[in-house]
């Protein structure tokens, strides 16, 4: 006996007591494989996201800088009055500016030959900016003012690498010899790159004036549209789902309504555009191209999304909470509004924000109510005007730019996507903060 204990005991098995048979091994392998698939799927998704993000940022960042001509300019009262008498006033301003620049360059003793035409080719459409400045600041007349005005799109392309000496063909837009002048002007600091505030704050511009194009006005348009969508679809959607979920009797009629709401969520958005055109513009005579109509159309599109998600979150509130409220004597309405709704709020907010995000990126319905195209009215002059004056929306603006002949608009379309994503991110952050506030645990 003792001998037996004294003998070194058999080494203890390291593995568990369960000896794995072939079937268990197979099951475990299957699980491992499945995990690998899942991980691959996530990695692939991430990779796509990274590729997308990198390409958006890389193509879009140039839109935030622009090439400007930095020159001191004096406009006298007489010149101002004479220009204002013309039909094509902005052209008169830009001619004055070109003459001034030519004088300055001649005086500075530049070694390169140039003429007024060459300067004109280097400049973008500067007349509009000049006229706007002097109309707003009459005190600046007769005084030297430092201007940073947009260079032409091809000069801009030369700085950003779109146009090179090898690919440039002489045309009335830009001659190869003009690039020597550009290089010389860059050396003395007259032509330089600067942050493109116009892009962030401005409105759309004509196809020959990419330097003056901005997305700011359409951000405002999108903002007013989102206000309309939020103000209309949230109360209507929540009221409808509370009624359907908590009060409505279960019968054929409510079944029919439910089925239809689910169907409505799957209707292509262009259909809502056609509906909007027929009802809001042709029948109700609301203004064309207005964010109000855009918002109404998008409300129709967003409602089903909000109703479905609100009903789901109302359903997920445990029945015990309703029962408890009813048990201590609350009315049905009190139970819903004091207990169920606050608990469902985070879910409702998530649904709303998904609906709004969808609406924000929608172009198709706007196509038919006149918000896609050249809409460049600038900023609305008040809250009501913001809803009713013609304006574009961000996705519509991006679409419009992408279709233009000049490549620099294509770059602006990418830049617009960055602004759109930033807007979306802000919306989501606000939603997350609100959701945190409303979140309750039980």
């Amino acid at each position: 006996m003792t001998d037996a204990t004294a003998q070194s005991p058999e080494p203890r098995k390291q593995s568990s007591l369960i000896s794995s048979d072939a079937r268990t091994a197979k099951r475990n392998a299957a699980e491992k494989r499945f995990r690998a698939y899942g991980l691959t799927a996530i990695l692939m998704g991430l990779a796509f996201l990274v590729v997308l993000f990198v390409s958006i940022v890389r193509s879009g960042m140039p839109a935030f800088t622009r090439t400007v001509v930095d020159v001191e300019f004096v406009l006298t009262q007489e010149q101002f009055d004479a220009s204002e008498k013309e039909l094509f006033k902005t052209k008169a301003y830009s001619n004055l500016f070109i003459a001034e620049l030519q004088d300055q360059l001649t005086a500075s003793g530049l070694s390169i030959d140039f003429d007024a035409k060459a300067i004109e080719r280097l400049l973008g459409k500067v007349g509009g900016t000049l006229r706007e400045h002097y109309k707003a600041n009459a005190a600046d007349l007769g005084k030297p003012v430092q201007f940073e005005l947009a260079a032409s799109s091809r000069v801009d392309g030369y700085f950003k690498g779109r146009v090179s000496r090898d690919t440039l063909q002489d045309s009335r837009f830009l001659m190869l010899s003009d690039l020597d002048l550009v290089d010389a002007l860059e050396e003395v600091g007259i032509i330089k790159q600067a942050f493109n505030w116009t892009f962030v704050t401005g409105a759309d511009s004509g196809v020959d004036n990419p330097g003056g194009a901005g997305i700011g006005a359409s951000v405002v348009g999108s903002f007013f549209m989102m206000i309309v969508v939020l103000v209309l679809s949230l109360p209507i959607g929540v009221a409808a789902s509370i009624y359907l979920e908590e009060f409505a009797p279960q019968n054929r009629l409510t079944d029919l309504i439910e089925v239809n709401i689910s169907n409505l969520a799957a209707v292509p958005s262009i259909v809502f555009g056609i509906l909007g055109l027929a009802v809001f513009i042709q029948f109700m005579h609301l203004p064309q191209s207005a964010p109000l109509v855009g918002g109404l159309v998008l409300t129709l599109m967003t409602l089903p999304t909000i109703i479905i998600s609100t009903r789901a979150s109302l359903k997920s509130v445990p029945p015990s909470i309703r029962d408890a409220a009813l048990g201590v004597g609350a009315s049905k309405m009190q139970a819903v509004f004091h207990h169920v709704l606050p608990l469902a709020m985070p879910g409702i907010l998530t649904g709303t924000i998904i609906g709004l995000a969808q609406a924000l990126g929608e172009t198709a319905p706007l196509l038919l109510i006149g918000m896609v195209g050249f809409v460049a009215r600038g900023y609305p002059e008040g809250i009501v005007a913001g809803f009713t004056e013609a304006n574009s929306a961000m996705p519509a603006q991006i679409y419009t730019w992408a279709a233009r002949a000049d490549v620099s608009f294509y770059e602006k379309a990418w830049g617009g996507i960055i602004v759109l994503l930033a807007f979306l991110l802000t919306m989501n952050i606000i939603a997350i903060i609100l959701r945190r506030r409303f979140e309750r645990r039980w």
Partner: protein
Amino acid sequence: MSFVKLTASALAIATVSATAAAARDNVQVAGSSTVLPYASIVAELFGDNTDFPTPVVESGGSSAGLKRFCEGVGENTIDVANASRAIREKEIKACAENGVTEIIEVRIGYDGIVFASDINGFNFEFTPSDWFNALAPKILVDGQLVDNPNTTWDQVNDAFPAQPIAAFIPGTKHGTREVFEEKVIAAGCEATGAFEAMQAAGMSEDDAEDACLAVRTDGLSVDIDGDYTETLARIQANKDGIGVFGLAFYENNTDKLQVATMSGVVPTTETIAEGVYPVSRPLFFYVKKAHIGVIPGLKEFAQFFVADEIAGGEGPLAQYGLVADPELAATQEAVDGEVVMGKDM
């Protein structure tokens, strides 16, 4: 919470009803995507140079624009339709049925239609016959009308390389398509003798003319319903492709495209103005006279558009690629006098 929402929605409804009565203060334009660039240039300048708000210009094609134009009179309809072709009898009739009886036709200038391919490809020199033999559903081979057997360009013309035929032409809702059919395909139909052969085969003259406009539908010719940017994207994806563009679009993309000559003429604003380059067409916009005086700035916009400073040879439109109309003065007079169509006929 619910009270706040209630007030908010009440406010929204109030806004809706308030604006229903408010008048539109900007000119509303829609139509041809060929005219759109010019119209947008003018719209921006109009906003910059006058006290009127910048007009809204939508795209969509000549036919779509004219259809909207003819929907009726009133603030909820557009004021101006852009078109890259003249309005048709059928459309004038449709307009009249909806109460749009007085239409002012304004010709703004001419635009060239060019054939362009990838910059690194073969430099084509086309004739209308080449295009007919490449794109028509039935062509003349050895005196017989047969289903088009050509699939590569060298079968069409010995001077061309063995490059597969892949044509990207404007869709039927574009006015450009009509010009392409009439000035290229139909011209080729007559030049190759197919027109005569069709008549000899028992077709009436009208039927033969219609048959001459047809384009093969076996996939070698692709209709592009979008803008020229889409055509360009297709050519960049398929280097063998040859696309139909407006001259201004090509001139903005000379780093990616090379232009083909037509009957030996290189398309430029000069050759189009002189009438030497065969494939060009006038561009128009149509103004609803009933809206003049109702929509602020409508007449001023039309006058501004055709002013010498804008649409003339030195103006921004010519700078962008429009071929100025030599008879601009007559157009200006017609706009000033609000001369409507059909009255002088």
